[in-house]
Symmetry: C2
Subunit: 428 residues, 2 copies
């Protein structure tokens, strides 16, 4: 048995994206990295948030007239599969996203990733159903679909993300392969593109979903990080016909170490049951329930902020906005020749798309890290579309100002060298 | 879309076992319940364990010469997919279970359940592989396999659990359906039976696994709760040929609210990589990583106990041992007629199997809870074998002495009534 043969899907490079990037980072500890899409630690305030558990225990002891010891004990115990802070989360979703659902329609998950796992395991019939995904897409979704053997149809994104026109074409394409069951997208400040779907297009997409009995899986980790003007309404808040399944993450708004997200599934099943209740059975088979310790730390943070994330997000938003502005500024200095380089100006989120005049692959990433001390993430890692081969995703959420400036300079030098090599027809 | 059609497997009653029992408990709040296999809260000491995070932060700040603020920040951040307390866990596994593996062969999981999800998703090819399961079995494993469409072949258990003879028969049966890939069992103080596999049989089973290139998935949540004599060596500690994948749970030894377990996979893949590393890719697609907050609470508890769970388990073991003895005593009083009733005397764990002279199903559970104020768990929920229809699982881990005594009396009265009804050929 010691020669262990893995499932076939392990050959798919998508399963190696994260490992590859981690390895490059480990091999080049001094390199400045635009690769990881993670929030900046110094903005977290973990210790104080953590202490919220004491407030939770006090409040709960008071409310239930039980000794604090009993409340502590119950936090150690197995708990409800769907979570026990659902009422708090329902209030937060209403305040922050205008999403109006009852606590029973919410499942508290181990981060947004578990919500994806619950959905793919719970609603996809591998032999019949096809998942449409905006392309490029977050690899956590496409990687999982591949692991499960779920067929994918990519929807090529434009500068405003997925359009109704592109979705309609994809639905047609999917029909030859099975039943188009759902579309997955990050419509606000997309990972990896940074794009946002305009309001008018949201309404058209929802009409189309309704018409084709297609579910819309809305993954919204970045929605509250809107830097210019008003944030757009979520698909879920616009949805009046039960088309949208909503995934929230508390990794960027609070911090990732809590591993908390939620899944909103307020539809009813054809047997008249609650979809969230059916899906909680899937959750029980993945992680039984989400850590009570982590749940009440989040509940306490929300309760002490009147059930809105705004006070927690506000300083983070200011910081990340400044990072975006610095990166845009640096790009306009270091990549001034717009006949060679192009980039978008996202209204929010963590990412910018930079288009280069050459193909950028793993080999480039390795060499650029080693020789120029800067790490970027090729867009091809997230895409089935060869048109994306010459793009990179730049994260600006994790770097200090001087690193953004120095990193952009370094990457510019790498690009200049690559362009010179291409002009001479060689590649070292 | 609002009429939501679920996947076919949702029709399988196994997915409803937990919900059914929870519902009966909710509908009969005064009933004494032998159903839930959970540890007793008053034995947890959550508050003090929780405070361990401060020791962890202090020690880590000292070790790394970083300010405590930085350490707190890193606990809030995304972390290694496989976990960061693996060295601590490796020491604990060695001290407590004589399992000698390097930290890189361990994945820290969100409870034992996630370890099962990682294995079924990672190593089973739905179209080829068959999973052999001891019968009856923990529904978290069989439910998940059914959700994934993995074919199951039950191995009927005897009074000492799975035998090599029964395994051989099951391998033969599986060969007509595909490739027998792995066997899953809880060999120590089995859930639901309470049985243990004798040492000699362990060696035979390991030989058989090696011979048939079969993996042995050892799920060991109860191993440290041995009440009589010496505990037996785990399969993993006996395995010298890479046959065993080991799953640990910290829910019974520490407390469930942490949601921590681990998966030991020290095999190498046919490509020469570490199996644990390949499986960590699966983990990243389920939950990204296990909460750092929870990980360091456990690490601190272990570090302050010289890397053994023994001081934490010892008082719990004493308590549960007494509960078992009380239940055995009650059974011999209330179910004295051994021509009608029979039960086993487990050497450890949380469960006793009681055999009744009639079939016990959901309807019985409902009626018994409503009319007699006691809840038991029918063995048929865990089994494909109709021979188990007249058995129930009694958990003794969650009840106080007087509840065990009163609950047994109540259940005895229910059984007497059922026997009288059967004698008169009716059922109300």
């Amino acid at each position: 048995v010691s020669e262990f043969i893995m499932k076939r899907c392990f050959g798919d490079p998508i399963l190696d994206v994260m490992n590859f990037l981690n390895q490059v980072i480990l091999e080049n500890p001094q390199a400045i990295s635009f690769a990881p899409g993670r929030p900046l630690e110094s903005l977290f305030d973990v210790e104080n948030t953590f202490k919220g558990i004491y407030n939770y225990v006090q409040a709960e002891a008071h409310r239930s007239s039980k000794p604090t010891e009993t409340v502590w004990g119950s936090l150690g115990q197995y708990s409800w599969t769907s979570g026990f802070i659902n009422q708090t989360i329902a209030k937060q979703l209403f305040h922050d996203e205008n999403i109006n659902v009852c606590p029973e329609s919410i499942i508290i998950t181990v981060g947004a990733q578990e919500a994806m796992a619950i959905l793919l395991l719970g609603i996809f019939d591998v032999n019949e159903d096809v998942l449409l995904v905006s392309d490029p897409t977050y690899v956590g979704m496409t990687g999982l679909a591949k692991l499960l053997g779920i067929r994918l149809v990519p929807i090529p994104c434009g500068s405003n993300g997925v359009t109704a026109e592109a979705l309609l074409l994809a639905i047609g394409k999917a029909s030859s392969q099975g039943r188009a069951r759902a579309i997955y997208d990050v419509p606000d400040f997309n990972n990896p593109l940074g794009t946002s779907v305009p309001l008018e297009e949201r309404l058209k997409l929802l009409d189309l979903c309704h018409e084709h009995k297609l579910l819309y899986i809305e993954d919204n980790p970045y929605g509250m990080f809107c830097y210019d003007g008003e944030k757009l309404p979520t698909f879920k808040s616009l949805d009046k016909r039960g088309s949208v399944l909503y995934i929230a993450s508390y990794s960027k708004t609070v911090f990732p170490g809590l591993r908390l997200g939620c899944l909103v599934a307020d539809q009813m099943t054809s047997e008249g049951g609650r979809l969230a209740l059916e899906l909680s059975k899937v959750k029980s088979l993945i992680t039984v329930n989400t850590s009570s310790i982590c749940q009440c730390i989040l509940a306490s943070a929300l309760a002490s902020n009147n059930y809105t994330l705004e006070p927690l997000v506000s300083p983070k938003r200011e910081y990340y906005r400044r990072c975006r502005d610095i990166l845009l500024d640096c790009l306009s200095i270091e990549f001034a020749d717009r006949t060679l380089f192009d980039w978008n100006c996202p209204r929010g989120g963590f990412f910018i798309t930079l288009t280069l005049p050459f193909k950028c692959d793993s080999e480039d990433v390795r060499r650029c890290a080693r020789d120029y001390g800067v790490i970027v993430c090729p867009m091809m890692f997230f895409s089935a579309d060869s048109n994306r081969n010459s793009q990179v995703r730049l994260s600006f959420s994790y770097l200090a100002e001087h690193d953004i400036r120095e990193g952009t300079r370094r990457f510019s030098r790498f690009c200049q060298e690559r362009i010179r090599q291409l002009a001479y027809g060689k590649r070292v």
